[in-house]
C-alpha cells in the first residue's frame, strides 16, 4: 500500500475525480500488464505476468488483481501494488475470460479449449464445478444479483445460462456468429451480447432468455466485414452502451432505450475492449494492433488522447479505490 499512497500524494493537484485511478491493461504478446495512472494518463509501471494474458479483473477491495494467463493455463492472483504473483488459481485449460460474482469470491472462468466453464472459489482456491458448455466459450458475465452466470461459446454460437445455485447449465440461447462478450445491464433485466463475425449485438431479455433486439452497425467507407463487435461496456447511468468494433477501429455509442447508434468514435487499430472509469466521464479502449489505449470523453463522444502500452493490449480493468469501493466493481469491462 505504500506505493499506492505515494501515488496518491503525487496527484493531489489533479481534479479530485481522477485521483489515483489506475487502469490495468493486459498486453497479450508481451506477457505483461501496463498500469496507467488516470491522473497523468501515463504508464506508471509495467510488470510481467503469465503467458498470453487476456481477461483481468480486481477483487472488490482492489487488493488483488486476477489475470487470465491463457497459455499458462492459469488464473494468476497478483498484488497490484508490487506486481508480484501471490498464487495461481486452478482455472482449467486455456482460461480466456472470467467474471467475479457479486459475492466477491466466486470466479466463473471460460475455458476456451475444452468447452467448459470452471467455477472457482478464489478464497479457498478450490474448483467448485466444471460446467459443460458449447465450443470455445469466451464471454463470461454474472448477473448483478448473482443468481445467473452466462458464457458465450464462439463456435456453438450460443449464450449458455448457468444457475449459480446448482452450477448447472439450464438453458441456451442462439445468437449471431461468434459471440465474444456478454454484459448484464445494471438492473439485471437485459443481457447484451456481441457477435464478432455476425457483426451484431443481441439484446436479450433475461427473464425469457429471448432476443428482444438485434443491433447492426454501419460506418460510411468501412466494409461491413470489418465491423466486428467485441467488447461491450455500459455507462454508469445505464443510458449508453459502448461497443468495441474490432478492425473497423471504432467504438459505437448505442442508446440503450432506442438501440440507435449515437456516434462512432475513431480509436486505435483493432479495438478489443472498453472500460468505463468511475464517474462516467471517461472511458478507455484497448487497441490490439496499434498497441495503445484510447481515452474517450463520454460527454462529447470523442477520443481525447492515446497512450502507448505493450504489444497487443487486450483487456482493461480499473482498480477500485478505497473511496469508490462498493460503488461498482464491474466498471472496467471488469470481466474482460
Amino acid at each position: 500500500m505504500i506505493v499506492f499512497r505515494i501515488l496518491l500524494g503525487a496527484t493531489l493537484l489533479m481534479p479530485l475525480r481522477a485521483e489515483a485511478r489506475e487502469i490495468y491493461v493486459s498486453n497479450e504478446r508481451d506477457n505483461t500488464v501496463s498500469v496507467i495512472d488516470a491522473a497523468t494518463w501515463e504508464v506508471a509501471r509495467t510488470f510481467p505476468v503469465g503467458r498470453r494474458p487476456r481477461g483481468l479483473t480486481f477483487s472488490r477491495d482492489g487488493k488483488r488483481l486476477f489475470v487470465c494467463a491463457s497459455d499458462s493455463d492459469a488464473v494468476q492472483v497478483i498484488d497490484p501494488d508490487t506486481g508480484k504473483l501471490l498464487h495461481d488459481l486452478p482455472s482449467g485449460e486455456d482460461p480466456e475470460q472470467f467474471a467475479l460474482a457479486p459475492d466477491g469470491k466466486t470466479l466463473f472462468i471460460a475455458n476456451e479449449n475444452n468447452a467448459t466453464t470452471t467455477v472457482v472459489d478464489a478464497d479457498s482456491r478450490k474448483v467448485l464445478a466444471q460446467v459443460d458448455v458449447g465450443i470455445e466459450p469466451e464471454g463470461m458475465a454474472v448477473s448483478p444479483d448473482g443468481t445467473l452466470a452466462v458464457t458465450t461459446s464462439e463456435t456453438t454460437n450460443m449464450v449458455h445460462w448457468i444457475d449459480t445455485a446448482t452450477l448447472q447449465a439450464v438453458d441456451a440461447t442462439l445468437v449471431g456468429q461468434r459471440p465474444r462478450h456478454a454484459e448484464f445491464t445494471r438492473d439485471g433485466r437485459r443481457l447484451w451480447v456481441s457477435s464478432e463475425i455476425g457483426g451484431t449485438v443481441a439484446v436479450i431479455d433475461v427473464a425469457s432468455r429471448r432476443i428482444v433486439e438485434t443491433i447492426g452497425f454501419e460506418i460510411r467507407g468501412i466494409s461491413s466485414d470489418r465491423i466486428q463487435p467485441v467488447g461491450i461496456a455500459l455507462s454508469e447511468d445505464g443510458r449508453t452502451a459502448f461497443v468495441a468494433l474490432g478492425p473497423s477501429d471504432r467504438v459505437a455509442a448505442v442508446d440503450t432505450e432506442t438501440f440507435k447508434v449515437k456516434a462512432y468514435i475513431l480509436v486505435g487499430r483493432r479495438v478489443w475492449h472498453v472500460a468505463v472509469l468511475p464517474g462516467g466521464e471517461r472511458l478507455v479502449t484497448t487497441n490490439g494492433v496499434s498497441g495503445d489505449v484510447t481515452v474517450i470523453d463520454a460527454a462529447s463522444l470523442k477520443a481525447i488522447r492515446s497512450i502507448k502500452v505493450g504489444r497487443y493490449p487486450w483487456g482493461a480493468a480499473v482498480r477500485p479505490t478505497e473511496m469508490a469501493r462498493g460503488v461498482d466493481g464491474r466498471s472496467a469491462g471488469a470481466a474482460e
Binding site: 465450443i135 461459446s153 450460443m158 456468429q177 463475425i197 466494409s223
Partner: protein
C-alpha cells in the same frame, strides 16, 4: 417425402433405427420439436455422407511429407464432433458415414451401395473427388435428393458452365486462389511475372487461372516457359537448368504452375534473378495451412491436431467447413429437415464462421462459398485476401473468383 430410415445411422427401417432413435432421444432428454415429425423422428441423427475417390500422387520431392491419406475425412470428422457438441443444446444429433474408394475403383457403384445400405438416397453428401467424378455423382439418380458439398475439386468450370443446382463448393476454386495471389502481388507492385508451367492438364488449368487473374487485376505475364521434370534428376540439374529456364525480361516474380509438385519446390532460390517464386510453390494461395493462426484459427488448429495427430491441410479445412455449414444451418433452424437446411444454406440470411475473420456464405449464382484465401509460405501467412484496396459493391470477398456477371452458371435460376 423422406422416410425415417433416410436419417438413421445406417439401419434400414425397423427395429435398429427405432432403437437408435430411442436411445438418442433418451440421451438428449428432449421431446419432438415442431415440424420434425415430417422429416425425422426426434433425436434420430441427421446423416451426412462423405464420399471420396483416392487419387494417385507422385512421391514428393525433397523428402517432403506425403499428402495424408485421410486428408478431408479427418476434417469432416472434426466438423461432426463440433456439430454434435453444438446440436445437443437444441436436441439435434448428426452422424457421418464415410465411403472411400481406391483410385481405380467404381465410384458410382460405391454410391449405389451406399444408398442400399443407407436405406434411401443420401441428403447431404460431402464429396472429395476430381471434377469428372464429382459431376458423375451429381448427375447420378442415387444423388438426386442430395446437396453435394465439393471439398476436393478446385476446377473453375464447376462454378461456371458445368455447375449443378445442388452442388455447393466449399473449397475455393483455382481462380479464387490465383486471384488472391495476384491481388497481393499487385498490392506490392510485384506485377511483372514470368510463368513456368508443368506438363499436366491441371498445370494448364492453374496457368490459365493465373493469366486470367493477371488480366483481372492488372498484372502482366511477360514470358512463359514449360518444364517437364520427367526423366530429370533435379538434385543434379536444378542449379543449371532453372537458371536457363527463368532468364527473361526484367520481372518481379516467377510464377509456377506445378500442381503435382514435380519441380516447383526446387525452383525456389534457383531462379536466374533474385526473385521470389509464387504460385503452386514458394508463396502460395491456399484455403488453409499450418501457419494460419489469426481469427482464433489457432483454436481450430489445436482441436484438429488433437484429433488427427497432424496439421490441418486445406482439404481438411474444407471437410470441416462442409460439415460445419450443414450442422450450423440445422442448428440455426433447430431442425434436421433436409429441405429446410438446403434452403437455409442457400438463403441470403445464412452466415457461418470459418475461422477466417469474416462471415462466410454461399454465392447464390454458382454455389461457391465466399471466403478469404490465405497467401502463405510454410513459415508464415503473408496476407489474407481480399487484400486491402480491392473493392466490390457487394462484399470484398466477391473480388475473388467468378462474380455474378462473369459466371455462365444458370442452374441456380439466377441471372441470364
Amino acid at each position: 417425402m423422406s422416410t425415417r430410415a433416410d436419417f438413421s445411422d445406417g439401419g434400414r427401417k425397423g427395429s435398429r433405427a427405432t432403437r437408435d432413435a430411442f436411445r438418442a432421444l433418451v440421451a438428449a432428454g428432449l421431446w419432438l420439436w415442431a415440424g420434425a415429425a415430417l422429416a425425422a423422428p426426434a433425436g434420430a441423427p441427421l446423416t451426412i455422407h462423405y464420399l471420396e475417390r483416392r487419387i494417385e500422387r507422385p512421391t514428393p520431392l525433397n523428402n517432403e511429407p506425403r499428402v495424408p491419406e485421410d486428408e478431408g475425412l479427418r476434417g469432416a470428422e472434426l466438423g461432426l464432433r463440433d456439430g454434435n457438441a453444438t446440436g445437443r443444446f437444441v436436441g439435434l444429433t448428426f452422424a457421418l458415414k464415410p465411403t472411400v474408394v481406391a483410385p481405380g475403383a467404381d465410384l458410382l457403384a460405391a454410391l449405389a451401395a451406399l444408398v442400399r445400405e443407407n436405406g434411401g438416397p443420401p441428403r447431404f453428401l460431402v464429396v472429395n473427388a476430381p471434377a469428372d467424378d464429382l459431376l458423375a455423382v451429381a448427375d447420378a439418380p442415387e444423388a438426386r435428393e442430395a446437396v453435394l458439398l465439393n471439398v476436393g475439386a478446385p476446377d473453375t468450370r464447376l462454378r461456371d458452365r458445368d455447375c449443378r443446382a445442388r452442388l455447393l463448393h466449399v473449397s475455393p476454386s483455382r481462380d479464387m486462389l490465383t486471384d488472391a495471389l495476384v491481388q497481393l502481388l499487385v498490392h506490392k507492385r510485384w506485377g511483372r511475372l514470368l510463368l513456368v508451367s508443368g506438363p499436366g492438364p491441371d498445370d494448364a488449368l492453374y496457368a490459365e487461372a493465373l493469366r486470367r487473374s493477371a488480366r483481372k487485376f492488372g498484372a502482366r505475364i511477360l514470358a512463359e516457359a514449360t518444364f517437364d521434370a520427367r526423366g530429370a534428376d533435379l538434385r543434379d540439374s536444378a542449379l543449371k537448368e532453372f537458371v536457363l529456364l527463368t532468364r527473361g525480361p526484367d520481372h518481379d516474380a516467377v510464377a509456377v504452375a506445378d500442381e503435382r509438385g514435380e519441380f516447383g519446390g526446387n525452383l525456389v532460390y534457383n531462379t536466374a534473378a533474385p526473385r521470389p517464386v509464387v504460385g503452386t510453390h514458394g508463396l502460395t494461395p491456399a484455403a488453409w495451412g499450418r501457419p494460419v493462426e489469426a481469427w482464433a484459427a489457432v483454436q481450430l488448429q489445436g482441436r484438429f491436431a488433437k484429433l488427427a495427430g497432424r496439421p490441418m491441410g486445406p482439404v481438411d479445412w474444407a471437410g470441416w467447413m462442409a460439415v460445419h455449414a450443414v450442422t450450423e444451418a440445422a442448428t440455426q433452424l433447430t431442425s434436421s429437415d433436409p429441405a429446410a437446411i438446403r434452403d437455409r444454406l442457400l438463403s441470403k440470411k445464412f452466415e457461418v464462421g470459418g475461422f477466417k475473420g469474416r462471415a462466410l456464405s454461399f454465392r447464390p449464382w454458382n454455389g461457391q462459398l465466399r471466403q478469404p484465401v490465405f497467401v502463405l509460405w510454410p513459415g508464415a501467412v503473408v496476407a489474407a485476401a481480399p487484400v486491402e484496396g480491392f473493392l466490390h459493391r457487394r462484399t470484398e470477398l466477391d473480388t475473388l473468383g467468378l462474380d455474378e456477371p462473369e459466371s455462365a452458371c444458370r442452374a441456380f435460376g439466377g441471372h441470364g
